[in-house]
Amino acid sequence: MNGRIFSVVGGMFLLTVCSKGDRSAVQAAPPRTEVSAAGGTITGKVKFTGAAPKNPAIDMSEEAACKAKYPTTPTEENVVAGAANALANVFVYVKSGVPAGQTFPAPATSVVLDQNGCRYHPHVFGIMVGQGLEILNSDPVLHNIKAIAKANRPFNVSQPSAGMKTTRTFAAPEVMVNLECNVHGWMHAYLGVRPDPFFAVTGPDGSFSIKGLPPGTYTIEAWHEKFGTQTATVTIAATESKTAHFTFAAH
């Protein structure tokens, strides 16, 4: 009788612990492949056609400490346009084509994501699998960083005061992981996790540059938070430099 009770209870216990249990993945050290600085390069510019949509203003009056950091009213960063309709914050990466079996070590330095003025800096960025993401709170207010991910384990961590640092890593490639703050609903950031270093984010002039590619045929994808994705195919021989431009239609 006691035995039966214990096996039922034990079974229930095992059911819970074994089913959605959080297991820290133990990564086997990948065989090291050096990225040759002398490899091929893909460069390009991203722009859009049509009228630049107006970015809505953000009313930060509910968070006085953040509002005080802005001399003029801050706006959302949905579409950050530069001169001649250049499109910033486009995540460009090599979607396929990297020779199989090649692995790339994650850099020892972390990518820093700063929460300052109730905004994420940077707004769009890339990180390598296994590389540290150091999240910093530069505001004297509560932010929580909620990572919405499918291939990676989601997380949600709070930083109630200035100076707090939290580090996370991502175990699987994913384009894109959404980051948001639930206390300040306008705060969004987008993070592309890649197994290789072949990615870039366009600046205000819309340009990007991906270096160190081994010879081959690559599909590169440009991702924008509002305008969607576009792909292009580029073939590179050793140390060649090729261009690929993307033009999105504003809607």
Partner: protein, 223 residues
């Protein structure tokens, strides 16, 4: 330092505060009877040499008295309270001239939807503002509460107003603010780690101020 309920700011505050005071007096009397009684007994009936306790098993008369008086008091309290309960919470009590706003709660913000210049909620000129509730003084308002994710609770202390926002339900809560000024709305149901930060500012305007604010919002105000 506050020692009492917040300053009254709505038509509900009068009856609720009066009821509160009435209960305070009733329970206060009961408390004094019990505590003074206990202290008196402790002093008067302490054991001393040569004393004996009075052997009795009780008194039916006493039982009847101290059963009847609390029972009658409780029934009376219930009847009076129910009148105001129905007035505040019953859907039929929402005044027909109430302005309707949509309040959508989510972790961790209040999204308030205003009907816009056409005055009708659910039309194209509606606009949504985060964490700001603007109402008109001496005008009934009804908020249609909904929730994106978990149970939250819409709480404005000065208005003596509280109503849970439950996912999967549309709940109406009405009120009429009686004092202009700026107040606060807090979440009164644990909704996650940011529960404490789920604060909105509440503005009670004169009708003109309100019209001006709505116009400013419709002309491309902020999110």
């Amino acid at each position: 330092m506050r020692w009492w309920l917040p300053d009254a700011g709505s038509t509900f505050a009068g009856p609720i505060d009066t009821l509160f005071l009435a209960i305070l007096i009733i329970t206060g009397i009961a408390l004094v009877i019990v505590e003074v009684g206990l202290i008196t007994f402790v002093i008067r009936y302490r054991a001393r040499p040569g004393r004996k306790a009075f052997y009795t098993h009780g008194s039916t008369r006493a039982e009847v008295i101290w059963t009847a008086i609390p029972a009658v008091t409780m029934v009376a309290l219930g009847l009076i309270s129910n009148h105001y309960w129905v007035l505040i919470k019953d859907k039929k009590s929402v005044p027909p001239n109430a302005y309707h706003l949509g309040v959508h709660a989510k972790q961790f913000e209040w999204q308030v939807t205003y009907p816009g210049p056409d005055g009708k909620l659910g039309t194209a000129d509606d606009f949504t503002v985060r964490n700001q509730l603007h109402v008109i003084v001496n005008q009934p308002f009804a908020v249609e509460l909904s929730s994106e994710d978990v149970v939250h609770s819409f709480f404005v202390p000065e208005w003596r107003l509280k109503q849970d926002a439950v996912p999967g339900m549309q709940i109406t809560a009405w009120f009429e603010a009686t004092k202009t000024g700026e107040f606060e709305l807090g979440c009164a149901e644990l909704c996650g780690m940011g529960h404490y930060k789920m604060r909105a500012r509440v503005f009670v305007h004169t009708p003109d101020e309100y019209k001006a604010w709505v116009a400013q919002q419709a002309a491309g105000g902020s999110e």
